[in-house]
Point group: C2
Chain length 371, copies 2
Amino acid sequence: MEQLTIYTSSKEYPVYIGKGIRKRWKKLVEEMAGSYSKYFLIADKTVADLYLKDIQASMPDIPYYLVESGEESKSIGQFYDCQTAVLEAGLDRDACILALGGGVIGDLAGFVAATFMRGIDYIQLPTTLLAHDSSVGGKTAINHPLGKNLIGAFHQPLAVIYDIETLRSLTGNEWRSGFSEVIKHALIWNPDFYGWLKQNIKDLGNITDEQLAYLIKEGIRVKAQVVGQDEKESGLRAILNFGHTLGHAIEAELGYGRITHGEAVAIGMVFALRVSEVYYGIDYNMDEITKWFQQFGLPVAIPETLDEARLVERMKKDKKSSGGKINMILLKEIGKAEKVQIDESVLSPLLMAEFERSRSDDTRDKGSNNG
Amino acid sequence: MEQLTIYTSSKEYPVYIGKGIRKRWKKLVEEMAGSYSKYFLIADKTVADLYLKDIQASMPDIPYYLVESGEESKSIGQFYDCQTAVLEAGLDRDACILALGGGVIGDLAGFVAATFMRGIDYIQLPTTLLAHDSSVGGKTAINHPLGKNLIGAFHQPLAVIYDIETLRSLTGNEWRSGFSEVIKHALIWNPDFYGWLKQNIKDLGNITDEQLAYLIKEGIRVKAQVVGQDEKESGLRAILNFGHTLGHAIEAELGYGRITHGEAVAIGMVFALRVSEVYYGIDYNMDEITKWFQQFGLPVAIPETLDEARLVERMKKDKKSSGGKINMILLKEIGKAEKVQIDESVLSPLLMAEFERSRSDDTRDKGSNNG
């Protein structure tokens, strides 16, 4: 088992990465934090089918609430139903919530823990590669019809217990979606890690346990370093949104669940790299990058059905924007990201060019042919 | 205008107390915090009828959302409707929410601000005497059918702007309810202030502006000192719940809105004082205290319709309880409060005795004859 410590301004907490460690979560937790009055599990239904029994191996009678897979579960209704379930199970302020699943469960259960009796402890048990991103940083939230993650809180977990065994049951889509965020972390912060990824990871179906543990650890390390320096996203942390301004807009326009988060971010990163090329006058060898993305089946082109003007409107409404301008994270060089305010009049033509490019080359077919 | 500074572990913020200062809220805010991208007002409907125009004196086109008076508005539905209204008004992370009203509005709007885009600034404009309590300390919450304030967050306001002019439109009930918490603050922390209150305040209808500003300031100062030493209610802050364990239980059993919060707390304080007499073997001259309470029409006896066993169950479920025992705040002496864990088997007979006492003397008639 490997261990990383995440430092934030409000607390520090461990991330455990290993094989089979989900089964001994209670021992890990109580070694570090002592005992709790009660535990309560919030889990993804699909994940629970596979791993609920393993959680019960540590505690057979743990009360739980199961949530449908998918972004739709980050709703005000599910949030309230979780609160009711937790109350009915008799939890008090000295209780602890476990979140078993991917980013949706982490965000939902984390927000429940953040607001139950004004905040109790919770533990993340991520079961997706994508969750390497969402399980670190303490961002919890639910969605609103007007946008993603609009209602939420900052609430750091007590610990993250990352069992890489649970990743073996992921679908190809889920691997891609998670790997997209791994690439993001390398691109914005760590050129060596980016080099390692490009050299070693060519097929997501063939990753070894060692490679998997390494890339999760390195991905988390980037996230943790950025978050540790800026817990509340006032400055530096914004670079984690590389690829996300357009990514979120695409997800919202297509309707949540029509494209995975990581796929939307992949398209967003390609666009952000092209904007960076114009903005800084550099050449990122986009052909090579888009080809590498496509090797994993990651899309690189904006879906043709979308409307450029509506995407721009969405980007302006993104919660990271302020005062009407559009905030984007651009790359000065590999490993060096910064936040730039771009006016709509500058961004729109670049977005139009991206649509044109998609139509004139063959990236679209390759990009959308994943699943 | 008087000014107090509240120090908490996460920030410090000013409380302004004065006549007519609601009209120049924007100037006060921007002098201390610079400008915001947008403002949004969440207000009590009844209060808005009287004072919305005064808020608009600072900013004619401020967008607003009005909430029905009463505890029922601290619901998940109102919370969500506020979020929608704030989103539709186009607020972003650099916006600021104003809360105009009593404790209900402060709690609701504060929780909206705490969770809108994971937390934006908000300003309290309290319009009740009771709000001298709730507007300091950063506790925000909504209710759940299973109990009060069960879903919430700690979120400190940017500032509190306390216009004592708005208190002149309060009903007798509202004066009593607020004054009950003023007495609480004096009892748990400041014997001199308690002495001043007993000597000077005999009729809530005759309080002068100077007396009012003074008792609000002193009440807030107690709250601020306690909160400043223990922002997250892990220890000392619990003493602020003096009178609240039984008070909350009575409110919940009667149904919210059937008794004011301060009235319930008055009954709770009388009970807590009697338990303290037994626990520490002291004499608090309860006859004198209950007579003083009754001068203002504050109730001192548990409503006869309530059931002792159900009250005990409620007290065990109170969010301040843990592990099955009942936490109560008792007074070692006037000005010195502490948290004590009391077993159900000890508390039940004392609660029964309180019922017996109510039936055998005449406090009930006087106590319940307020309105």
